[in-house]
Symmetry: C2
Subunit: 408 residues, 2 copies
């Protein structure tokens, strides 16, 4: 364990100097005076994004105009970037495509899953799933007129909730609040054993933890471009459809870019072969350009190194907070068990919102999540060991000052 060796900030600085991922940090613009522990909300700006967007604006859109759809390869972008993301999540070429938002993509795969299990009427998910995932499922169930049911259970009750009525198990792989990680392979196997399909939301996983969608026999997945993939605010999202399901993949958002021949302008929809049928409207080229810059950087790192550093950073933070902040009312929500931890550390605290605000005033940026959660994301591509030291000390200072101050 890293933290057992830690006696000083200097020791951690040496560890940063020896870090094989240190060079990748140089790809990002990270403002002075900021320790950024919120890359799980919005990743930072890669330097190259500026240059690449300028090139696309001037050389492609500007000079190419409508011709750039062909000459600059714009039409190929959703699948090209999808194939790159596939390498990050353990999927195969042709199984991932970039399109729309995570919410919209979740709607698509939910519709597809229900269509593939016509005799079953239940979607199972957990209470701690990200709200928009719950809303999308609620919206779909309501729209279908009430014959379907969204079964929301506690984390511990997921496996037993999958009965013969369940069409699909829909889970977020790493919980946005606690950072707890599901065992994708085990839960997928349990769902399959009962005849259900699975949908994995990889918003807090892709680019941060090793994933093996092929090995887990995952059916469908969706994920976010603007968190650990550093694709920019509101970046396009991705979706995964296992190749074995692609011929049966049907969903109601049938737009022209999912047509077998978009430029034949036929009056009747014919789905494209393969993952392209999951496209709907015209691809957003500027946003895709920015996303590809972030994805390209993530591909430079070995996911094993990323995972090792992620665990080292989160272990270190937990150990330092154990030492420095004992007695100030923090309650660790993130598992100490490596196998159940994503790339963030969360604590409950009765004054979480005020504590996070005080941290931000010191340049330590994390997130407050209602009702009482302090959330710190540790993106291994750019967070340093010294950042963890400084953040933990800043947290201790804030808590100490609160306990001494008049409003504590």
């Amino acid at each position: 364990m890293i933290h057992e060796k830690v006696t000083s900030r200097e020791a951690l600085a040496k560890q940063d100097a020896a870090d094989t991922l240190a060079a990748i940090r140089q790809h990002f613009y990270l403002p002075d005076g900021v320790i950024y522990l919120d890359g799980n909300s919005l990743g930072p700006l890669p330097w190259r994004t500026h240059l690449r967007l300028a090139a696309v604006l001037g050389g492609e859109w500007g000079d190419g105009l409508i011709r750039a759809w062909q000459s600059a390869g714009w039409l190929a972008l959703p699948q090209r970037i999808g194939d790159k993301i596939a390498r990050l999540i353990g999927a195969q070429p042709g199984e991932v495509i970039v399109a729309d938002s995570t919410s919209i993509n979740l709607f698509k795969v939910l519709c597809a899953a229900l269509t593939m299990r016509p005799g079953r009427r239940v979607i199972v998910t957990e209470r701690d799933n990200f709200p928009t995932d719950l809303y999308i499922a609620q919206g779909l169930v309501e729209f279908l007129g009430g014959a379907h049911q969204l079964r929301i259970v506690e984390r511990e009750a997921i496996a037993e909730a999958i009965d013969e009525d369940v069409a699909v198990l829909m889970l977020t792989h790493v919980c946005y609040r606690t950072g707890e990680m599901h065992d994708m392979a085990a839960l997928t196997a349990q769902a399959h054993a009962r005849g259900a399909l699975t949908i994995w939301d990889l918003a807090h996983s892709a680019g941060a933890v090793p994933l093996d969608l092929t090995g887990a026999q995952a059916d469908f997945a969706v994920g976010c471009g603007y968190k650990y993939l550093n694709g920019g605010p509101g970046a396009p999202a991705f979706l995964f459809v296992a190749r074995r399901h692609q011929a049966d993949f049907q969903q109601p958002l049938k737009g022209w870019m999912g047509h077998a021949q978009p430029f034949a302008f036929e009056a009747t929809y014919q789905p494209a072969d393969g993952i392209a049928r999951a496209l709907c409207g015209t691809p957003p080229i500027l946003a895709l350009t920015a996303l590809e810059c972030g994805v390209d950087i993530a591909l430079e790192a070995s996911m094993d190194e990323v995972r090792a550093k992620s665990l080292a950073l989160t272990d270190l933070f937990i150990a330092l907070v154990d030492d420095l902040c004992a007695g100030y009312g923090l309650r660790l929500l993130t598992p100490r068990d490596h196998h159940r931890r994503g790339s963030q550390v969360s604590y409950a605290h009765p004054h979480a919102a005020a504590v996070m605000q005080a941290l931000a005033a010191r340049g330590v940026i994390g997130d407050f999540r209602p009702p009482d959660i302090l959330r710190f994301g540790f993106a291994p591509l750019y967070v340093r060991y010294v950042d963890v030291w400084d953040a933990a000390h800043a947290l201790a200072d804030v808590l100490r000052e609160r306990s001494l101050g008049p409003t504590a």
Copy 2:
């Protein structure tokens, strides 16, 4: 009629010099050697888009990181730009929002319309509607299990197709193939008289022809950001919901940005008041930034001047082609009647694809649309009268050479 005065290119150059919209052309980068008559597929790059995107990258995303959602006003962008677009289409503040793609937005308003007319099962549209509009309606009807029907009729039969079973009339205001424009107020009144709602696709209208959604009592509308609004390739789209319908507006794509309190992270969806409930996922900030640049330029022009110049440009092109290209097999598809014409001119020709290719080789860029259509868009914000002269002469040259050549 402008063309009656035209005797020479020099006369047209004088007309350009006197054009009150000429200054607006300076806002766009238009490459040398290109006459761009395809702004109805993809508008050109505004200079300011480059600068503004660089500022958002560096000053907002780069320096602000997650904080920019508040500090840079990102969360307000969909409605801020929507309010600007409302001014271009004759809608009221709070009735338009920018989100997703035209196809996705069409799905939303179709679902809302069907929900508001529960006893009615038919969607009426026309055969010549843009294919993705037909596909979205087909996808929805199929997904609803077959109780609904998409009634596709010829243009002449639209009014009589609206019977007591019709929930919604869904039309594109200006036809993408022919440039023919519907009478929005008259058709909306006919639909309302029979108890049906209306959806107008403004893809080929917004920014090009005067629109009065309020005056027409339109119910719902969608539109495109990357054509006459010059928002960039795959720019976000917009949707309009008349204020009187907003409280009843329900659709299944219930994402967190349409929630009354997105950052309360509640487990149950509660729609936001007003047009914000039409949002779904996280807004795409880079793409929204580019779109706002284009919309701001469109707002600098008076729509009356835009319309007058649009008709003058299209009249001129038709007159020149009448004179120069007689006998080469062109058949005008666009109405000569001003009241039925959008901002494009289309011809059928047996070798349309080859003719358009030959024009492109001369720097005149229009579109080929299957099976046999030459399509020329005349965006009044940057197309000049001399461009029309040059394009018509290039077309005549191409047709003459084809008729003399071995493969004519």
